[in-house]
């Protein structure tokens, strides 16, 4: 597993781009990020104080104060996002990355957000979930003219309610979101809020799906359902950073869904409550304990729990295909197919051929075989006990008693106390399961199950 240091992002820092100061005289300097590492939380240097969030494999956009107004500068532009080491995707994003930087403000802040369009086509920004003047809602053609390429528009409004939000284009939306245009937005409460508890760790990430043909680098924007890359903040397991917390911390995880399907986000070892949605904090009486929460398309969920169980706990989408990398969805099931004789024949024609899938697909996680350039294996990642056979929307919540407050570094693999790991039962002498000798009933032509019945009377299913 290739885990990056949490602080790597802080070290690479935020670099000024080469845009002329004269041209930008009235604008805040646009800041760009080159690293995909999780940046350290941005402690507010000015304005109202707040407890910053950590964006998984992302960063927070700095701002400048201008006569009491917080000014941000977003640059919409083509970027190359490294979704995993060696797997780089041509995306559209903001300020050097996709997703764009997280915008963190405080309830009541007066905001001015400059948006420069460096895309080849027009764009807008919709501030998903915000209370704002209609003309600031960012729906191209409806509430504002589109931002043409090369132009800068400004959005001005007040962050009226605290909560978890996001931003994304509302112009050629299908293409621009398929290309990765999205970003997180957190409005912190300006003072203690009855429904918003202070937390020690506050993580956020966006769910994204892309269709990148293995061996290519640009997402297919016309794909509607058959995506093959499932990501947290445009990263895939095992390249997604872990959520490292101290035992006993109150942890908040904010998730936004900008894919075209729902994602049941599941956390192992703890039960949590959904304390907020993009509509705001959930009344305490409406919260119930869960271990999975379905984040529907276009929704945001905010889960909170006390991390009181030490260990390396999986945190993933519960749709099995979403914890996989690219796979051929038309590849037939090979389980139980005897390759005797045939494999040799194929190897004569294709010397590199290896039988796969006849016992299941775990082979894929174990065998290290060359695959097309610029893609990731369908399942990968190894833990202390072997292959994790996972990919996509999967990471770990690492709870350690000795993780220092404010330290977001990866503590490494959990050292299990003796006797607390599942183990083999010695001399069990149970014979292993073998393949059924008789074919499934549907394969016997004589079997009535295989005969086609006309859907008439009570013999047919009642639809």
């Amino acid at each position: 597993m290739n885990r990056r240091n949490f602080f790597a992002g802080a070290a690479t820092a935020v670099a000024a781009t080469s845009v002329s100061r004269v041209a930008m005289a009235a604008l805040p300097e646009p800041v760009s990020q080159g690293s995909t590492a999780t940046a350290a939380p941005l402690v507010p240097p000015n304005g109202r104080p707040y407890n910053p969030v950590v964006t998984l494999n992302g960063w927070t956009l700095p701002w400048r104060m201008n006569a009491g107004v917080k000014e941000f500068h977003l640059v919409a532009e083509p970027v190359v996002r490294e979704m995993a080491p060696g797997f780089k995707v041509n995306m559209w994003g903001y300020n050097g990355q996709s997703p764009g930087p997280t915008i963190e403000v405080v309830e009541g802040d007066r905001l001015r957000i400059f948006v420069t369009n460096r895309l080849p086509e027009h764009t807008t920004v919709h501030w998903h979930g915000q209370r704002l003047p209609n003309g600031m809602d960012g729906v191209g053609g409806i509430t504002q003219p589109h931002i043409p390429p090369g132009k800068t528009f400004v959005y001005e409004f007040t962050a009226r309610r605290p909560g978890t939000f996001m931003y994304h284009p509302h112009a050629d939306e299908m293409v621009q979101m398929a290309m990765g245009m999205m970003g997180f937005w957190v409005t912190h409460p300006k003072e203690s809020h009855p429904l918003i508890d202070p937390v020690q760790r506050d993580f956020c990430f966006l769910l994204g799906s892309f269709d990148v043909e293995p061996g290519s680098a640009t997402p297919k924007v016309n794909t509607m359902t058959d995506f093959n890359i499932w990501s947290f903040n445009s990263r895939v397991f095992p390249a997604i950073d872990t959520l490292n917390v101290r035992k006993g911390d109150r942890v908040r995880i904010r998730v936004g869904n900008l894919t075209m399907t729902n994602h049941p986000i599941h956390i192992h070892g703890h039960e949590f409550e959904v304390t907020g949605t993009d509509g705001g904090p959930v009344p305490r009486t409406a919260r119930w304990p869960e271990v999975s929460v379905d984040v529907a398309v276009g929704q945001m969920r905010q889960m909170e729990f006390i991390a009181d169980e030490e260990g390396d706990w999986s945190l993933h989408c519960h749709k099995a295909h979403h914890t996989m990398g690219p796979m051929g969805h038309d590849v037939p099931t090979m389980i139980g197919v005897d390759h005797k004789g045939v494999a040799e024949k194929i190897r004569k024609l294709v010397p590199d051929y290896m039988v796969m899938g006849d016992k299941g697909m775990a082979d894929m996680g174990e065998m290290e075989m060359p695959i097309p350039d610029n893609t990731v294996p369908m399942m990968t990642g190894t833990g202390p006990f072997g292959s994790a056979e996972m990919g996509g929307m999967f990471t770990l919540l690492k709870v350690r008693r000795d993780q220092k407050p404010g330290d977001y570094r990866d503590p490494g693999w959990f050292k299990h106390p003796p006797g607390t790991v599942a183990r083999e039962v010695p001399n069990a002498n149970m014979p292993p399961a073998t393949r059924k000798e008789t074919p499934a009933p549907s394969m016997k032509n004589s079997s009535p199950d295989a005969t086609v019945r006309k859907p008439s009377g009570s013999g047919a299913h009642n639809h």
Partner: protein, 491 residues
């Protein structure tokens, strides 16, 4: 027919042949000498043919054999002992092939005609016995076709020219045989090579079908999916069967040209066609080359000359095309009491009287023949120049296509295969897609072999067109598409 008036010149009109004028004697002598020279050539003119074709690139550095002898048969066996390359095949055909012997026999016929034409006509001896009452008359006449004698030099020259043309034709036949053998060899090797690859393609389909069957057996696939794979196998099998038949047919064609039978017919061919040449040859003006070197052009010209020669002959004999001069000796016995015996001597001249036939028709015919032959010269010239251009273009096209297969299609195909293996490794593609790609590769290799074959065919055509004769109904593209259809119907 001309009414021939036979005028019996006898009695007082008869004069004794006394002294022949000197001039006549000289002419007669010269004819005799000419006739004496016109003897059958010992080899029927084949040495001249060898000289015409020697050094031709089609000949593979060998000489055509007029009649196979023991030594040549030994060399054939030696050539057959090894895998047969194209030069060896041409050699065997030129030594052993029935067609080359046929060509030489034809040439020998023409040689015989030539000698025949230059031979003095035999004098005719007629003898008749007539009875009238007691009279018995014996008529003896020794006659000689004078016109035949007078026209003998013409006849001899014309026949000589015809023999020259026949040599050119025989040389063409030899080159045609060499070219046909080359082509047959190229086709046979390519077809045999195709079979190997189509067998691999079938094997890929077989593996797919077998796996499909097992997939269905364990319940992973429906009858539809399994049947589709079986269909591919059936298709591949049919394609292979066709290719195998084509291989047998093209090999038999080669066997026939080489005149082989029995155990000799089980020769082995090399596994593959020779590689493409590095670059196109610098040929200069291919049209000029064809017009200068092509044997059919030269043959047409020679024939034209011969016809022109015959025109003179026809003119000379148009009015009087037969004149028989005979020496007559008539003896009459009267078997009456006094038993008188009278002998008449004299000569007899048979001469058609040009009343109805003034020879216009014959002259017209001769002129028409001359015009026809002149037109043929022009026709062959146009053909040669046009075929030279076409063959040159065909050569270049075939070369470009074959190179494209060698340098682009096949490496790209290989790359596709490698990429498909990577996709299979990543479980992005199924084994059937992999096998399908392998099958497609084999078919591409097969198409590459066909392109290479077409190049070598075009190469043979070009050589024949430039230095030999008209290959007849060529155009590489036509051959290619025609023979493509059965072998690669699947791609």
């Amino acid at each position: 027919m001309n009414p021939i008036v036979r005028r019996q010149l006898a009695g007082p009109l008869c004069y004794r042949r006394s002294s022949t004028p000197l001039k006549r004697a000289a002419a007669f002598a010269s004819v005799l000498i000419l006739a004496g020279c016109a003897s059958l050539s010992p080899d029927g003119g084949s040495a001249d043919v060898q000289a015409l074709v020697n050094g031709n690139p089609l000949m593979a550095g060998t000489t055509a054999q007029r009649a196979p002898d023991e030594a040549s048969q030994k060399s054939v066996d030696a050539l057959l002992a090894k895998p047969l390359d194209v030069e060896a095949a041409v050699r065997i055909a030129l030594i052993n092939g029935p067609r080359v012997q046929d060509a030489f026999a034809t040439l020998q016929l023409s040689d015989a005609d030539r000698v025949q034409a230059a031979s003095l006509p035999n004098p005719v001896l007629s003898f008749s016995r007539l009875a009238q009452g007691s009279e018995r008359e014996f008529e003896r006449m020794l006659s000689f076709n004078v016109v035949g004698l007078v026209t003998l030099p013409w006849q001899a020259r014309w026949a000589g020219q015809r023999h020259e043309a026949a040599k050119l034709q025989a040389a063409q036949s030899v080159l045609m045989l060499a070219a046909d053998t080359r082509r047959a060899w190229v086709r046979a090797v390519a077809a045999q090579q195709s079979v190997v690859y189509l067998r691999d393609a079938k094997e890929a389909a077989e593996a797919g079908a077998e796996l499909a069957h097992r997939m269905a057996q364990v319940g992973n696939w429906s009858a539809l999916q399994r049947t589709r794979e079986q269909l591919l196998l059936a298709d591949a099998s049919a394609q292979l069967a066709r290719a195998e038949q084509a291989a047998v047919a093209s090999r038999e064609q080669l066997t026939r040209l080489m005149g082989l039978s029995g155990a000799r017919a089980s020769y082995t061919l090399p596994d593959r066609l020779p590689p493409l040449p590095q670059a196109a040859p610098e040929l200069g003006d291919v049209q000029a080359l064809a017009l200068r070197d092509r044997l059919d052009v030269r043959s047409a010209q020679a024939q034209n000359t011969a016809v022109a020669g015959s025109l003179g002959l026809t003119r000379a004999t148009s009015v009087i095309n037969a004149m028989e001069l005979g020496v007559v000796r008539n003896t009459t016995f009267d078997n009456d009491a006094d038993r008188t015996k009278k002998t008449k001597r004299g000569f007899e001249l048979d001469l058609p009287i040009p009343i109805f036939d003034w020879g216009q028709a014959r002259n017209g015919r001769a002129e028409a023949q001359y015009l026809q032959s002149a037109a043929r010269v022009r026709d062959v010239g146009v053909l040669a120049a046009s075929e030279a251009r076409e063959a040159w273009q065909g050569w270049n096209t075939a070369y470009a296509i074959a190179r494209r297969y060698r340098d682009e299609v096949l490496p790209l195909r290989k790359k596709v295969n490698e990429e498909m293996v990577l996709r299979y490794n990543g479980m992005l593609a199924s084994v059937w897609e992999l096998l399908g790609e392998t099958r497609a590769s084999m078919l591409a290799v097969n198409a590459g072999i066909e392109a290479q074959r077409d190049f070598w065919l075009a190469d043979t055509d070009l050589q024949l067109v430039l230095t030999g004769s008209s290959p007849g109904g060529m155009t590489a593209a036509q051959t290619a598409s025609a023979s493509d259809a059965p072998a690669t119907g699947g791609h």
